[in-house]
Symmetry: C2
Subunit: 175 residues, 2 copies
C-alpha cells in the first residue's frame, strides 16, 4: 500500500521534471500524506523506492553534487500504469482508525471522571492545532483546478476533525 502512496506523491510532483529524493518524499509525506494516511518511516521510503525501481515503476537519476551523489526518483510510464490499475481496482478496503483517546475512554470508569475530562481537554487542544495545520494546507491549495482533488481531500479531513470536536463535546456533556 505504501508503495502506491509514494507513487501518488511522485505523480503529483511529476510536472516538476527533476524528480524527488527520498528525503524530499519524506517531507511531502509529512506535509500532506499524514492527514489521511501515515507518513512512512525513512527506512520504508528507501526500501519501497528500491522495490519500485526493481519493478521499473520509478527511474533513478544519480546527481553528483561535489563529494556525494544523491538520487532523484521519477515515476515511469510503467509506474503510472501500475498506479492506474490500482486506482481502478474496486476492492478498496475500509479506513482504519487507531484512536488512543477512544481506547482510554473505554476504561473511563477506571480513570475517573476528572481524568477523562482532562484527557478530552488535551485532545481538544491537540485537535485544534492539527485543524489549523490542515486549514493552512487547504488555504494554500486555493481553488486552482490543478489541485482540486487535493483540496477535496483536505476538506474531507476538516470534516473529520470537526466531527471529532463534536464527539468530544457530546462525550463531555454525557459525563
Amino acid at each position: 500500500m505504501t508503495s502506491y502512496a509514494l507513487l501518488s506523491l511522485l505523480v503529483i510532483d511529476s510536472e516538476n521534471q527533476d524528480g524527488l529524493t527520498g528525503y524530499e518524499l519524506k517531507q511531502r509525506a509529512d506535509f500532506t500524506l499524514r492527514f489521511y494516511w501515515v507518513s512512512p518511516a525513512m527506512s520504508q521510503i528507501y526500501t519501497e523506492l528500491e522495490r519500485l525501481t526493481s519493478h521499473a515503476c520509478v527511474s533513478v537519476d544519480e546527481d553528483v553534487d561535489g563529494r556525494r551523489t544523491t538520487r532523484r526518483f521519477r515515476i515511469t510510464p510503467a509506474g503510472r500504469e501500475a498506479l492506474d490499475t490500482w486506482l481502478r481496482d474496486p476492492t478498496d478496503d475500509f479506513p482504519v482508525l487507531k484512536h488512543p483517546v477512544a481506547l482510554r475512554l473505554m476504561l473511563g470508569a477506571m480513570m475517573g471522571t476528572d481524568a477523562v475530562r482532562d484527557m478530552l481537554d488535551r485532545y481538544e487542544q491537540a485537535l485544534s492545532e492539527r485543524r489549523q495545520e490542515l486549514e493552512a494546507v487547504r488555504a494554500m491549495l486555493g481553488d486552482r483546478e490543478s489541485v482540486a482533488y487535493a483540496a477535496r481531500v483536505a476538506e474531507w479531513g476538516l470534516t473529520f476533525f470537526d466531527a471529532e470536536a463534536t464527539a468530544i463535546d457530546r462525550t463531555r456533556d454525557s459525563l
Copy 2:
C-alpha cells in the same frame, strides 16, 4: 500499545472469573476493538499474552479438556496497575487514520469523475453496513451504568461514521 488494548479487554471481562482464551480475545477484539483500534492478528495476540505473562500482568490457567489443554488468561493486580499507570499518562498520541478512499481521491484527476463517483458509492455502501454493525453494538449496550463508557465510545464511532457520510456527500456535490 496492543498489549494495553488486550489488558483492557481482560479488565472489561474481569467480572467473569474464568478469564479468556487467546481465541476468545480475538473474538472480542473483532466485535468491538476494531471500531476504534484494530483487531490484532492471532499471532500478535498470543505473543503479547506471552509477554504480558512474563511481566506478571496476566495469569494463566491451564484447562485440561480431555486430550488438549487450553489456556485461560486473567489480568493480575500488577496488570491492573500497569494499565492504570498508562491511563494516567497524559502523553496520549493523536489518532491515526489510514483512509484508502482519500488516498485514491487524491488522484481523482487520474481516475476520472465516473470512477470517483463509483468509488464514493461503494464506500457509502460499505459505510452504512459498518454503521449498522456499530449501531447493533450500541443498542446491545443500552443505558446500563456498567457499560456507560463503552456506550460513549460506540457513540463516538457513530459520530465518525456520520461525518464520513457527510464527507462523501460534500465530495460528490463538488464534482
